[in-house]
Symmetry: C2
Subunit: 210 residues, 2 copies
C-alpha cells in the first residue's frame, strides 16, 4: 500500500491529518516536483486520476479523492470515529465536510488557480487537457471564500466543532482550507471570532503538523 | 421526517432513485415553483441550506447534500448495500460517485446556470448573495462534460457498473447527470458505446422513473 501525496497542497493534507488522528502508519511518497507547483511527470503518466492524494492498494486498485481514502481506513479502523458514530452524526459530518470542500476548498482553488501565472492552462486539477484560466472565476472564488469563512464562523457559534460536538473529517477539510487560504493571502475576514477560537483548538492537536 | 425535493432538478433525483432502490417510503414535499426555475421563497427563507435535496428529521436536524442523505439511510438500512459492502468497494464507490458529481454534475451545472437567462445572477445554487453568470464558465462546463462522458465510457468498457460489478450510488449520480445533460442539449458525444449500454441497463430499473 502506498499513499501518493504532495507536501504543499491542501488536498493530500486532509488524508495525512486523518491518518495522524487515527495513529495509522502508511508509506507516503511525495510526488511533487521540488520547487515547482507541478506533479512529477511519471506520476501523471502512470495514474489516470492525475491528482493527489491517491492510495494504491497492494492489489493495484487505486483510490482517489481524499474522503474516499479516509472512508477506506475508517471502515477498517472505526475507532475513534472521525466520520460519525451513528447515522445522524455520519450524515451531518458528511454534509459539513462536503460543504467545506465545495464552498471552501473549491472556491479557494478557483481563486488560486485562475490567478497565478504558474497555473496558466492548468486552472483545474486532474485534467490532461488544457484548462484555461478564467479571471472572473478567480474573483468569484475569492468572494465565495469570504462567504465560506462567515458561514463556518456562524456554525461554530453554537458548536465546538464544525459538525457538532466531536472532532471529525469536517474539521479536517475546514482546517486545510482555512490554512491554505491564509497562505494564499485569502485568510479569515475581520471578526470570525468563533472560527478563530476553533482554529486555535484544532491547530493545537498533534495531527495538525501533518 | 420529510424530504424536500424538486421534480425537475437532477440533485434531488439522486435521493429519490436511492430511496426507490431501497424500497423506502419517505414523505416528500416538492418545493419548486410550478412553471418557474426557482425554489419557493418560504423554503429558501426557512432553511439556510437553500438547496434541495434537504432531509428534515423529526428532531429538527436538517441534512443537506444528496450523498449525506443517502448515507443516513444506508447506515439505517444497509441491505442491499448501495455504498459498498466492504472497505475497498465503499472507497471505490465513493471515489467514482465524487468524480461523477465533480466532473459531471458540477460541469453540467456550470454549463447550464451560466448560460440560461432565467439563471441570471443565480449562477450557483445555495447562495443568497448574487452570483453573476460567467460566460467562459458555461463554455468550460460544456467542454468538461464531454470529457466526463468519455471518461465514464472508458471506465464502463471493463465494468458492468460505474464503480465495478454492482449497482451503487455512483451509478445514480452518473445517471442523473447523463439524463439532465441530455435534457440540456449536452448529451453523450458520438461513440460512447459502453456508456450507452450502461444507460440502457440502469434506465430499465424501476427506480429510474423516480
Amino acid at each position: 500500500m502506498r499513499l501518493y501525496s504532495w507536501d504543499i497542497a491542501p488536498n493530500p493534507r486532509r488524508v495525512r491529518i486523518y491518518l495522524a488522528e487515527k495513529g495509522l502508519d502508511v508509506p507516503i511518497e511525495d510526488v511533487g516536483v521540488p520547487g515547482k507547483p507541478v506533479l512529477r511527470p511519471d506520476f501523471l503518466a502512470k495514474f489516470g486520476h492525475r491528482r493527489v492524494p491517491l492510495l494504491e492498494l497492494d492489489d493495484g486498485a487505486c483510490i482517489g479523492e481524499a474522503m474516499a481514502i479516509c472512508r477506506y481506513f475508517e471502515l477498517l479502523h472505526p475507532d475513534p470515529p472521525l466520520m460519525g458514530g451513528d447515522p445522524r452524526d455520519a450524515a451531518l459530518i458528511e454534509m459539513w465536510e462536503r460543504l467545506a470542500e465545495w464552498e471552501g476548498l473549491h472556491a479557494l482553488s478557483e481563486a488560486f488557480r485562475n490567478s497565478r501565472k504558474s497555473f496558466a492552462g492548468r486552472a483545474l486539477a486532474g485534467y490532461g487537457a488544457p484548462m484555461p484560466q478564467i479571471p472572473a472565476l478567480a474573483e468569484r472564488g475569492a468572494a465565495r471564500l469570504k462567504l465560506f469563512h462567515d458561514k463556518f464562523d456562524a456554525q461554530l457559534e453554537d458548536h465546538e466543532f464544525v459538525a457538532g460536538e466531536g472532532y471529525s473529517v469536517a474539521d479536517i477539510t475546514t482546517l486545510c482550507t482555512v490554512d491554505f487560504a491564509e497562505f494564499c493571502g485569502l485568510g479569515m475576514p475581520d471578526g470570525c471570532a468563533n472560527l478563530r477560537r476553533w482554529h486555535e483548538t484544532v491547530s493545537a492537536r498533534p495531527s495538525a503538523t501533518a
